[in-house]
């Protein structure tokens, strides 16, 4: 049952990601991306990670894609402008990178046994505290430093974006 759902969601996610690239209208690309994010969220639910799934929907499918849709509508990009970015070299590099990435992922998949990987979030902890509590406990104790560093990095990114946007005036 779970496998069927996984195959359907994964398949739709892959097809939607391809359509992001191939769709003719810019807005359609953005919407395929929303669908792809949504499908990934369902896969998270299948992995019993509801909290992550909801964050995926709120942050990626909701907020970030809403921003992109807003930008597309604001700039009125009805049809895709003829792209002059794709030169011959970039095509070769792109295909090369794709092959390397694919090989890398297959290699990892073959060499590691995924079933034996153990994380800090175990079934026993989840049963006693509930999913969200377990994640937040780890986030604010063992992983506090990485968490804070990541938030400082994001804040720096926001400030940097504001500085870049203001400079042109």
């Amino acid at each position: 049952m779970e496998l069927v759902f996984l195959l359907i969601c994964g398949g739709v996610a892959v097809i939607a990601s391809l359509l992001v690239i191939f769709a003719r209208s810019t807005l359609h690309s953005a919407l395929w991306m929303v669908l792809s994010f949504f499908m990934v969220a369902i896969i998270y639910v299948l992995l019993h990670a509801q909290f992550l799934a909801m964050l995926q929907v709120i942050v990626y499918a909701g907020a970030i894609m809403m921003f992109i849709v807003y930008a597309i509508m604001m700039l009125n990009l009805r049809q895709e402008a003829k792209s002059k970015v794709a030169t011959r070299i970039s095509k070769v590099v792109g295909v090369g990178a794709l092959i390397v990435l694919f090989l890398e992922l297959t290699l990892i998949g073959v060499s590691h046994n995924m079933a034996t990987i153990q994380g800090p979030v175990t079934d026993k902890l989840v049963a006693t505290y509930g999913r969200v509590a377990v994640i937040s406990n780890f986030l604010f104790s063992d992983y506090l430093l990485p968490f804070e560093v990541a938030s400082i990095l994001l804040t720096a990114g926001v400030v940097g974006a504001v500085v870049l946007a203001k400079r042109e005036k």
Binding site: L31, G62, M66, F67, V69, M73, M74, V132
Partner: protein
């Protein structure tokens, strides 16, 4: 297993029927209350005091001519109302009507599901739903529609943040994201007493998310000739309309659950308190619509970012300090 499935199916049917009836009759409440506030009568002709008006409206919607503009983005034009109503109806799943009751020896919970991440589910799905209006405006190929859609998405991004901040404060005092646990944590004292600022913040941002009058930027009649749904006719328009009122019911249910103690009340706890509180909130939504004029667009934006957002952050900080000092 069979028994479980039967109970689940009956429960789902009852919950959805009741909710959609409330949704249909909140249009009647809206027209009636607005009418009396403006010294009119409102609908009177169909049924006793217009009680059959929502049904007549629905039938009328089916028989009207359907138009699709030539320069519309056809697939998106068809998809937009579906997204809107789909997301709005999905939200009914998490509405907690009441606690457990026993009927004929079976213990039945008066909610469809108790999600671990209930309140986040509401936030996520309602954002997905707002794509409906935005895409509807864009795909109809009408400039008023596009402006309405643009305003809708900008408003959504701005007010969703403050709404989430209000919710976080409630989650802090309740200690759970599950709506059932949040209701149960308010047995003695309702959250409106513990979190009055979050309550005000939630009401304001909720009205903005609902696109109701002081904030109805996406469909400002006087400026945009109804905005995002200007090109929609017949049942597609009715679907947008239904989605809007469905969101209003979910909003009322959320205010009841998060701040007004859900199904708890004096004398006997039960779903009757839930429905009573919901109707008070729905009445409030109509009342404020007939009271306040529409804000200017730039005022809506600066109010959201410069006042509500810092206010929400401050509220969380104070709540945290309070909990730390009094060791709650």
């Amino acid at each position: 297993m069979l028994e479980f499935m039967t109970i689940l199916i009956i429960k789902t049917l009852v919950a959805f029927t009741v909710s959609l009836l409330i949704v249909a009759y909140s249009t009647w409440i809206e027209r009636k209350v607005l009418g009396h506030v403006q010294l009119r009568h409102g609908p009177r002709r169909v049924g006793f005091h217009g009680l059959l008006q929502p049904i007549a409206d629905g039938i009328k919607g089916f028989f009207k001519e359907e138009l699709i503009p030539d320069n519309a983005d056809k697939p998106l034009f068809l998809l937009a109302p579906i997204i809107s109503i789909g997301a709005a109806v999905t939200l009914i799943v998490i509405v907690p009507f009441g606690d457990k009751i026993t009927i004929m020896g079976h213990e039945i919970t008066l909610y469809l599901t108790d999600l671990d991440v209930g309140i986040l589910f509401v936030l996520g799905i309602s954002t997905i739903g707002s794509y409906g209006g935005i895409l509807g405006g864009w795909s109809s190929g009408n400039k008023y529609g596009v402006i309405g859609g643009l305003r809708g998405s900008a408003q959504m991004i701005s007010y969703e943040l403050s709404l989430a901040l209000a919710v976080i404060a409630v989650v802090m005092v309740s200690g759970s994201l599950s709506l059932i646990d949040i209701v149960n944590s308010q047995t003695g004292l309702w959250n409106i007493v513990k979190q009055p600022f979050a309550f005000v913040l939630f009401i304001i941002c909720g009205l903005a998310e609902l696109n109701r009058t002081p904030f109805d930027m996406p469909e400002a009649e006087a400026e945009l000739a109804c905005g995002f749904n200007v090109e929609y006719s017949s049942m597609k328009f009715a679907l947008f309309f239904m989605a809007e009122y469905c969101h209003m019911f979910v909003f009322a249910a959320l205010v009841t659950t998060l701040f007004l103690g859900g199904w708890h009340g004096p004398f006997i706890d039960g779903p009757h308190w839930f429905f009573l509180k919901c109707f008070v909130i729905i009445f409030f939504c109509v009342w404020e619509r007939s009271t306040f004029p529409r804000l200017r667009y730039d005022q809506v934006m600066s109010f959201g970012w410069k006042i509500l957002l810092p206010f929400g952050l401050l509220n969380i900080l104070l709540t945290g300090l309070w909990m730390l000092i009094f060791n709650m």
